[in-house]
């Protein structure tokens, strides 16, 4: 893997000047993933902040061939591109001559956990050679912070508002990484942009395996989390240190936790600075906070039990 110094010398494949918010978690994720390709790479993106923020005609922040087609079909779109590649390669008709090309689909949590899960499942099952990266900011941010099935429990969103009788989102988030792993693909991982070396290593592995790979990446969103732009990376780190967002990988079916916090932080430390959880800190909601913590503890223990095991 490249050192930080080497990385800083490589050309960014996603240029600056895009319109994503200051402090958005998406750009560092995309940059680190694309760098891991180490050669020609073609990407697609589902409708959402990344797509809108990087391409307002006639501008584009993409220095690689890139396509946005719709919201729910990033995995199907990349299936088509990758199949075109295999077809033209075997016929000796690749534009610019024979070469090895990597394929990446980027999707938000809405585009991946919800509306795009069918296309994702199909592409994983068919075994296309591509990497799917979900940037999980925990809601449909581009359309104004609506809940998705990735939204943390009890979050205040515009379609799961913390109201007088219902205190935010009622459901625990869907465990997409496990669902993806159940497709028995060669590589699946969870990552976070605060740990650039862990993320880069995972992206490199994901690009190198033969077949589908998947990465679910925590992506701070100052707008939807009601946090300060300059703190995003701090909150990404706390999501991991509280074990809300464990870093792990599943390689050929074997699960490995890639980072275990020395001291597991209380969940409240991650929740408190975020406006979306403000209501949980009212005295009458103390029990909700407790419930949330319990669930996080349970999920973390479940993961610890699986560490090093073949799923």
């Amino acid at each position: 893997m490249a050192t930080l110094k080497e990385l800083s010398k490589q050309q960014e494949l996603l240029s600056g000047g895009h319109r994503l918010c200051a402090g958005c978690g998406i750009p560092p994720i995309v940059r680190l993933v694309l760098r891991a390709a180490n050669g020609p790479v073609v990407a697609t993106t589902s409708t959402g902040c990344l797509e809108v923020g990087t391409t307002i005609y006639p501008y584009t922040a993409w220095r690689i061939p890139w396509i946005h087609s719709a919201f729910e079909n990033a995995a199907a779109t990349i299936s088509g591109i990758e199949s075109a590649y295999r077809s033209l390669k075997k016929q000796g008709r690749l534009p610019g001559g024979d070469k090895d090309v990597k394929f990446v689909a980027f999707g938000g949590d809405g585009g991946t956990y919800d509306i795009g899960i069918q296309a994702l499942s199909g592409a994983l099952e068919r075994g296309h050679n591509f990497l799917y990266v979900c940037y999980d900011n925990g809601a449909y941010m581009n359309t104004g912070i609506q809940r998705s099935s990735a939204t943390p429990m009890l979050s205040n969103t515009t379609t799961s508002p913390a109201g007088k009788v219902i205190p935010g989102k009622q459901q625990w988030r869907k465990d997409l990484t496990r669902i993806v792993a159940a497709h028995n693909i060669p590589y699946a991982a969870q990552a976070s942009p605060h740990n650039w070396s862990d993320l880069s290593k995972k992206a490199e592995k994901a690009m190198q395996v033969n077949g589908p790979a998947f990465m679910n990446v925590m992506s701070p969103c100052p707008l939807g989390w009601y946090t300060k732009s300059e703190d995003s990376i701090k909150w990404a780190k706390l999501s991991v240190d509280t074990c809300y967002w464990p870093l792990y990988e599943i390689e050929d079916g074997v699960l490995k936790i890639t980072y275990k916090p020395k001291e597991k932080k209380p969940l409240a430390e991650w929740l408190k600075p975020q406006g979306r959880f403000k209501h949980l800190f009212k005295p009458e909601n103390a029990h909700l906070l407790e419930e949330f913590q319990k669930r996080v503890d349970m999920e973390w223990q479940r993961l610890l039990d699986l560490d090093g095991k073949r799923l």
């Binding site: 797509e51 061939p65 088509g80 016929q91 534009p95 296309a119």
Partner: protein
């Protein structure tokens, strides 16, 4: 069963013929998803792939939405792409149809016409492709198996035409054409390869040294300009279609036009109708002509773009026209074909009288007697100079 290595005259179903046509084109990528009555096309094509008769990458997608999404990805990547569907499948693709045309990707899709749910029905009508008539796709319609086979090649050329670059749909009737065996004349693989030519993609994404962005967000300062260009391309598609059909006729001796006419030159009354029902109508015309009635037919082949000027020319001397739709726009103002033909005739100083009839939905038979009854109504209109009933369902 997929047919192999055949040439000359052979008895084939519409589906087998179109699958064979696709095999002869040998596209780079073929996303496939089954639905009655087009299933046999994707099955036959899968056999061609399994037997190594094509170099195509088959993608057995998990839905038609993904089929069209994969078509778009593959086409933007630089591949020649084909697929097939019907009815609910086309409906599920609807969102993506507009994206394919908006991105100017020359994908070719065979739509085996079938009714739309509800109620669910697997039989023929044109609700599916008519529902996509404004999606920016070129639409070719076929009366017979031979024509469906031939249209498949022409669709590739028109779609990929340098002045067009738009996706194209090859439409023919479910069961009536897709499952009926007709004796047709096949072309040689080499003739097809010479006719369609090697595919040259524009701005392929796989040209990684020259990166392009597809599908950028556009704001009001740019969106309408893209749509204007697309609209202009659709206008040019008519001339391209004429050019391609001429070349096809010259090479293979089968002449096609923007529409087909039958005994229309001196007709007082005419039926305008799509696809297989034109055959039935021609039988009725022959019977009525024997009785001295001057009746004729116009069968549109190219529905998108709609060749209205030529159609007006062909219909201007007719006294009364009945437009028969195998789809209802549910607008309480007649079917799509009726509306287009009626609108096209508006500028004539001396307009034919016109009425619309909806027939044959969900596979209901349209018989010679139904066509005869329409011609009888038309002659009453000519006699009285009045259209009594502008719109009505027949074959009820």
């Amino acid at each position: 069963m997929a047919i192999t290595a055949t040439k000359g005259q052979v008895g084939l179903t519409g589906n087998a013929a179109v699958a064979y046509a696709m095999k002869q084109v040998n596209p780079d990528v073929f996303p496939a998803y089954p639905i009655t009555p087009s299933t046999a096309i994707v099955e036959d094509f899968s056999s061609y792939v399994a037997d190594g008769e094509v170099t195509t990458e088959l993608i057995t997608v998990e839905s038609e939405h993904s089929a069209m999404s994969a078509c778009i990805g593959a086409s933007a990547a630089g591949a020649r792409v084909m697929t097939a569907t019907s009815s609910q499948g086309l409906a599920l693709m609807w969102e993506m149809l507009y994206i394919a045309s908006g991105m100017r990707l020359p994908i070719v899709l065979a739509d085996v016409n079938r009714a739309l749910s509800a109620p669910i029905n697997i039989h023929c009508d044109h609700s599916d492709s008519m529902g996509a008539r404004d999606s920016g796709w070129i639409q070719l319609y076929a009366e017979t198996v031979q024509e469906a086979y031939d249209n498949t090649f022409m669709a590739v050329r028109i779609a990929e035409h340098a002045k067009v670059r738009l996706p194209a749909m090859v439409c023919f009737d479910g069961f009536i054409t897709s499952h009926a065996i007709e004796n047709i004349s096949l072309l040689e693989d080499q003739e097809i390869q010479d006719f369609v030519g090697a595919y040259k993609a524009e701005n392929p994404m796989l040209d990684t040294d020259n990166p392009v962005t597809y599908g950028a967000m556009t704001l009001p300062d740019a969106y309408i300009d893209f749509k204007y260009q697309q609209s202009q391309a659709m206008m040019r598609a008519k001339d391209a279609a004429v050019e391609v059909m001429k070349d096809f006729g010259k090479r293979f001796g089968r002449e096609y036009g923007l529409f087909d006419t039958y005994r229309l030159e001196d007709a007082d009354t005419a039926i305008v109708i799509l696809n297989s029902a034109a055959g039935t109508t021609k039988v009725a015309i022959d019977e009525l002509r024997k009785q001295g009635k001057k009746v004729g037919l116009l069968r549109p082949r190219l529905f998108r773009p709609f060749p209205w000027q030529e159609m007006v020319e062909a219909l201007k001397n007719v006294k009364a026209v009945a437009v028969l739709d195998r789809a209802d726009s549910m607008n309480a103002f007649g079917g799509p074909l009726f509306n287009e033909v009626r609108s096209a005739l508006y500028d004539l100083d001396q307009r034919p009288k016109i009425f619309g009839r909806t027939y044959g939905l969900g596979g209901r038979d349209y018989k010679v007697k139904d066509a005869v009854a329409v011609f009888e109504e038309l002659s009453r209109v000519v006699e009285t100079g009045k259209v009594e009933t502008l719109l009505k369902y027949i074959t009820l």
